[in-house]
Symmetry: C2
Subunit: 165 residues, 2 copies
DNA sequence: TAATCCTACGTTATAAAGTAACAATAGAAC
DNA sequence: GTTCTATTGTTACTTTATAACGTAGGATTA
């Protein structure tokens, strides 16, 4: 992601989520809101078990089902996307209407960016139609390097090494 | 998949694999060949642990690393595709040249069909180019219903219930 | 031929990702 | 307030995948 005021992203995402949920009579409980907030901490793909660790204080430990249920809720309401090729999740940029985005996954910095393209969907629909296939869901993920990660040896914003055990 | 002489598919796939490997100086060992053969038993997505069970006779038990290494070899040489959204694998129809196919996954019968479309790839490349993204790999998977599985209550070729424990 | 090297395969152990089943609790509805 | 339902907690487990190291066999070389 290009440099930006990320606090804005977070505020906007949470406000949108509140709005959408109240509009649908769905309950964005504190837990669900907290998970969404953690996912929006940055624009990187987030793993379920990272969420579990982040939500587990030294006292209170959060168990897998707790997080997975929150993720299910957020997925159902289109507030996040699941990244199949990474077993990870990312906040949705445009949650107001359902969509299957193209996800650009930077394998250097971990950032995820979503895009949509009507012509692309049209081609997929046409491919499906010619063989009588009915599409229920599209998984469209592109792995590679984002703009900022083109130069192979620039270490400025490379993903930090994984947490030590 | 439409009705067809599947023995042909298997023969062709194995012959192609032999040809490609020998041409590249890669060794299609008995184990790797056996895994490929199991994957080609039909046109369905195959799970790694199913392969482990299939290769484990009552005496000789095959361990995960054995199968995963064979899968890695087959993936490297483009003889199979990994299906990210299913954690499963399927034989490649056209292994002679590298490609990232569109995979049509029938959620009723489990069949997988691969397709390619130059215009689609062009659009993805163009989307990437406009944001300075360099694509290394594409995951394109469409979940839904194949031609034969359009009528919701036709049970003729529904996937059998999972193996009992 | 024997020493060597390298690749593939075997084995043990463990990590990472996800779910089933049931109990406890907190909101909403009555 | 009581009942009902949705949400969260908890225990246990399944599925998927990898790390680390040992072994065997074929090719290469001395
Ligand atoms: Zn941001
Ligand atoms: Zn990047
Ligand atoms: Zn293919
Ligand atoms: Zn089908």
């Amino acid at each position: 992601m290009t440099a930006h005021d990320h606090a804005n992203c977070i505020d906007r995402a949470l406000a949108e989520a509140e709005r959408i949920c109240s509009q649908r009579g769905a309950r964005l409980t504190p837990l669900r809101r907290q998970v969404l907030e953690e996912i929006w901490r940055n624009h990187e793909a987030v793993k379920a078990y990272d969420l579990i660790h982040r939500l587990s204080g030294s006292e209170h430990t959060t168990k897998p089902p707790t997080v997975y249920r929150a993720l299910d809720f957020l997925l159902e309401h289109g507030l996040i996307h699941r990244i199949e090729s990474l077993n990870a999740y990312v906040g949705c940029d445009h949650p107001e209407a359902h969509h299957d985005p193209v996800l650009f996954l930077c394998e250097r910095c971990g950032d995820v960016r979503e895009a949509r393209h009507a012509g692309l969907i049209a081609i997929l629909d046409e491919m499906a139609a010619t063989q009588g296939f009915t599409i229920a869901h599209r998984t469209l993920e592109l792995r590679g390097r984002c703009t900022r990660c083109q130069s192979p040896d620039d270490k400025d914003h490379a993903r930090p090494p994984a947490d030590l055990p």
